[in-house]
């Protein structure tokens, strides 16, 4: 931490130094290191107004650079999030598939013998009370668009 601060202090520009660097920058004489120092200097929030045009210029480049960096990080972060979600979904589906299956509970006792399970299923089906015609008639009525018309016709003769 102390070392970091020392480095920062070392590279911190004074206003006059910054003015000189800016001049050199406009003349195209600055090196990459100098431009980096200038960019660091201009990224400070409380600077005199005279630095505003340069802040705008460097701020734009800086922002652009940051934006690219952010999108890559966010991209990786979203991929990780998607991976986590997929793992959870598949995990739960796997668990669910494990729970689903062919079984019966008789008085709280689990049975997995498929023949017994099927026989219990058929027994429950046989409990369903119906007259087949009645249900077929009902299906017909559900699908019959003229049903209301026909029903109203009954009253037309009255």
């Amino acid at each position: 931490m102390v070392k970091r601060m020392k480095i920062k202090m070392k590279y911190k520009l004074s206003f006059s130094e910054a003015d000189k660097l800016i001049e050199r920058y406009y003349e195209g004489l600055t090196t990459g290191v100098e431009e980096k120092r200038l960019m660091d200097f201009l990224s400070q929030s409380k600077l005199p107004d005279r630095f505003k045009p340069e802040q705008a210029i460097f701020g734009y480049f800086h922002q652009k650079k940051q934006k690219t960096h952010f999108s890559v990080r966010s991209y990786i972060s979203w991929i990780s999030a998607a991976a986590v979600i997929l793992s959870v979904v598949f995990g739960l589906q796997f668990l669910e598939a494990g729970n689903r299956g062919d079984y019966a509970y008789i008085d709280g006792k689990r049975i997995t013998d498929i023949r017994e399970v099927k026989s219990q299923a058929l027994a429950s089906l046989s409990d369903i009370d119906t007259g087949t015609n009645e249900v077929e008639e009902s299906f017909k009525n559900l699908n019959n668009k003229d049903l209301i018309k026909d029903q109203l016709n009954v009253f037309s003769g009255l």
Binding site: A81, V84, G108, L125, I128, T132, V135, S138, F139, L142
Partner: protein, 158 residues
């Protein structure tokens, strides 16, 4: 240091929220039956005494091709019958009532053709008989075949 911590916390929060959304939103939606009130009947009564619960997945049962077959038969439990009827009232919304038998003002037989979900046709069959004892049968079926055909087939086979 603090901003790093914040970033980590933010990304943990993001994963957590997304995971919760998946667990409580998407996964239950994958199971068509879970959007129905009758799933509570299977959960509450399935493993109790005097109850037979059956679950068959992707099975051929006497020629019926079911993706899911669930049935529950409960004897001598009028409270369960009322509970099922209340669930069915809610599940009726958006469903076609193929058949309903009312005895002394109480529905004793209800067949519902539910709207398709995840390409599956769905049926609910409920029946209550009193001789020789009170017996409730509730069946839930998911099938790739048209529910009308499934129901006709079931009833014809009886």
């Amino acid at each position: 240091m603090t901003s790093k911590k914040n970033n980590v916390m933010r990304s943990i929060k993001k994963y957590l929220i997304l995971t919760l959304l998946v667990v409580f939103g998407i996964v239950p939606a994958l199971q068509a039956q879970n959007d129905l009130q009758i799933s509570r009947v299977f959960d509450q009564y399935g493993e109790k005494k005097g109850v037979v619960m059956v679950e068959l997945t992707d099975e051929m049962l006497e020629g019926y091709d079911f993706s899911l077959f669930k049935s529950i038969t409960i004897t001598n439990n009028p409270q369960a019958a009322d509970f099922i009827r209340n669930c069915l009232v809610k599940d009726e919304a958006g469903a076609k009532k193929v058949k309903q038998v009312v005895s002394n003002g109480i529905p004793t037989s209800i067949y519902l053709q539910l709207p398709r979900k995840n390409e599956l046709y769905r049926l609910i069959l409920f029946n209550e008989s009193f001789k020789p004892e009170q017996k409730i049968t509730l069946i839930y079926i998911e099938s790739k075949n048209d529910s009308e055909d499934v129901l006709k087939l079931i009833l014809k086979k009886k």
